[in-house]
């Protein structure tokens, strides 16, 4: 019987998560090692920086990827450039920009390297090949910058 850990988000909702899935997050893994984990532990790990909607997405990703092998030591030649991401991730990240940015921030906070990498690559793909004006339009950034 695998252990369950309780995660509480910023809006008070509590999620029951397998320890195996939860420890994809470096933050949670460290917390558990420091706090210790008993059989009947009712410990609730509080995540004030993550909302429940975002945590749901993050857990979905970690559940799918929890059995991923770590990246190989030798760079295997493939016909994918290192900037491509797998199709499941690509579909998973077809969300609005606000959600994408929040997932990035959550992955950074929870220290989930794989998710951080794939979300950052997605944002980078949104920048590649675009002109300056298109980049500003895509990310809705005001030009508060006057080149000297």
């Amino acid at each position: 019987m695998s252990k369950i850990i309780k995660l509480q988000t910023s809006d008070g909702e509590i999620f029951d998560v397998d320890v195996e899935v939860a420890t994809c997050s470096g933050l949670i893994k460290t917390m558990l090692e420091v706090l210790g984990m008993d059989e009947n532990d009712e410990e609730i790990v509080s995540l004030p920086n993550v909302s429940s909607a975002i945590l749901k997405k993050v857990l979905e990703w970690t559940k799918y990827h929890k059995d991923d092998a770590p990246p190989p030591e030798v760079d295997e030649p493939t016909d994918k450039s290192s900037h491509e991401i797998c199709s499941w991730d690509y579909n998973f990240l077809k969300v609005d920009q606000g959600t994408l940015f929040e997932i990035i921030l959550a992955a950074n906070y929870l220290d989930i390297k794989g998710l951080l990498v794939v979300t950052c690559k997605t944002v980078a793909n949104m920048i590649k090949g675009k002109s300056l004006e298109d980049i500003r339009k895509t990310f809705n950034i005001k030009n508060g910058f006057t080149p000297a």
Binding site: P77, A124, I135
Partner: protein, 503 residues
């Protein structure tokens, strides 16, 4: 949606995003978006370059990324390349067959967009240069200057009973005007200019300074010791006599610009008078001081001489900031129980051919692949080259009489030099040029090993420096990897940069 989305992403995350971008036009666009992006983009750019320098010095890890191209120049080696802005320009080159003989030369011009990593073919107008290889392309003021090189020439040989492909050096100069996309041929002073290939050239104050090179004919070998200057504006060639001790006649060396008044020359092979064979590999280093009206060669002190003298005599180096980088492909495969190496065979000149006074441009050299017989697994130094029916351990027979190029000529007893390669591990050796001008000292450094594709080229490849990455294009991989039906045979290029957290 919020007004300023970027305010929600902290600098460190932006930096991770920017590290995914190639450091060319994309990163440049990002630096112009807003103040925060400008700050982070500049820091990412600087980080990439600094990490590459650390990697070359052996204090950080490098990685080699393979880029497979759907559209690319066909397989070729000895291409003339030059990086200008966000593009890598590549001209010509030669196609070499499985026996390492030149079969065809090219004169097409390609450029690779370094941001998107895609090759584009340029279709210029004007006076096309003849197909050639072993030439150099130098950028000056919106023009690419192409000088010299070797071209293939069909000749009917009575002795050899058929058509022979000879490679001859040429002395034509062509200028490619980038804006108008035109080739212009410069015919002005061709009668005095030497026909050379495999020379070193750098641009100084509007002049091309040419040293060394593979020149044919006895008289011309003496010319090799001089320095030739080509004034780009006026088209005048002048021969500079430099007093005092000089680097001996050589070719295949590497020449780089230190600043407007200094150039550095290293390595190469000595030219042996009276033959076309390669002489001794050299690894001495000289600097030409052009600051005074009387130019002077200065012999540099080499700190920690390179452990492999073949390194700078067969591969061109590439200037990366204050370093001169040589890539050392160190790769071997165990195939069918035999260790294979590449053996470079020098055939001694046929005394019969000499008697006929054929043009000196005849070059009967070739490279055989011969399985090395090793007595026991531990004793790598005992190598006996044996003629064998297995060509690279796979199939076919090694033709003893080489009928397809040199008919009826027996292979001569050969001087065998072998390159032993280890599996898939590569090193970058760099020459630290920081104290070159002031203290006349250069120092060798070795990077940590990095893993690369087994098809990284080992001969005839071009090495260039983009922003924070070293670009390897063209060239030939180990013979056993040249064309296999079970492997993707599309063209590849390689980018060596610092090991990023994203890979």
């Amino acid at each position: 949606m919020d007004e300023n989305m970027s305010k929600t992403l902290p600098d460190e995350i932006l930096e991770i995003i920017f590290r995914s971008l190639a450091p060319y036009s994309d990163l440049r666009s990002c630096s112009l978006v807003c103040k925060q992006w400008n700050r982070v983009a500049k820091s990412t750019y600087r980080y990439g370059i600094d990490k590459l320098y650390s990697g070359l010095r052996g204090s950080a890890l490098l990685q080699c990324t393979t880029q497979i191209h759907d559209i690319a120049p066909s397989r070729r080696s000895h291409v003339a390349t030059c990086v200008v802005g966000d593009y890598l320009y590549a001209f010509g080159g030669s196609f070499v067959d499985d026996y390492r003989d030149y079969r065809a030369a090219f004169n097409d011009l390609w450029k690779m967009n370094l941001s998107s990593r895609k090759w584009e073919r340029i279709i210029p107008t004007g006076q096309y240069p003849k197909p050639r290889f072993c030439a150099n392309l130098v950028h000056h003021d919106g023009n690419l200057i192409l000088y010299g090189g070797r071209m293939l020439h069909r000749s009917h040989s009575v002795l050899q009973g058929g058509i022979v492909l000879l490679s001859v050096p040429i002395n034509e100069i062509h200028v490619f005007q980038m804006e108008s996309c035109r080739w212009i041929s410069d015919y002005r002073t061709l009668d005095i200019v030497p026909h050379i290939s495999m020379y070193g050239v750098t641009e100084h104050k509007g002049m091309l300074v040419v040293t060394g090179g593979h020149i044919h004919s006895e008289a011309a070998i003496a010319e090799n010791e001089h320095v030739w200057c080509y004034c780009i504006e006026s088209g005048d060639w002048t021969k500079r006599d430099v007093e005092g001790p000089k680097p001996g006649p050589r070719r295949k060396h590497t020449q780089v610009k230190l600043d407007d008044d200094h150039l550095l020359l290293i390595g190469g092979v000595r030219i042996v008078r009276g033959t076309d064979n390669d002489g001794q590999p050299q690894n001495d280093c000289w600097m030409l001081d052009m600051s005074q009206p009387d130019w002077k060669w200065i012999l540099m002190t080499v700190d920690r001489p390179a452990e492999n003298s073949l390194l700078c005599s067969n591969h061109r180096g590439c200037k990366v900031g204050d370093n001169l980088v040589f890539l050392h492909p160190k790769c071997s495969m165990n195939i069918g129980g035999h260790r294979c190496g590449i053996i470079r065979v020098q055939r001694r000149r046929n005394p019969g051919l000499d008697a006929l006074h054929l043009p000196h441009a005849l070059e009967p050299h070739g490279i055989y692949r011969i399985p090395l017989e090793i007595n026991n697994q531990n004793d790598r130094n005992v190598i006996r080259a044996q003629p064998d029916v297995n060509v690279n351990g796979r199939r076919g027979e090694l033709c003893q009489d080489r009928t397809h190029t040199v008919r009826g000529v027996q292979p001569y007893p050969a001087v065998v030099r072998s390159y032993q390669f280890e599996k898939k591990e590569y090193f970058a050796y760099s020459l630290d040029l920081e104290e070159a001008i002031v203290k006349h000292t250069v120092r060798w450094r070795k990077s940590l090993p990095f893993w690369g594709d087994e098809r990284l080229p080992v001969l005839g490849f071009s090495v260039d420096y983009g922003a924070g990455e070293i670009i390897v294009t063209g060239g030939l991989p180990l013979p056993c990897f040249q064309s296999r039906c079970d492997v993707d045979n599309r063209e590849r290029s390689y980018f060596i940069a610092h090991k990023s957290v994203l890979s």
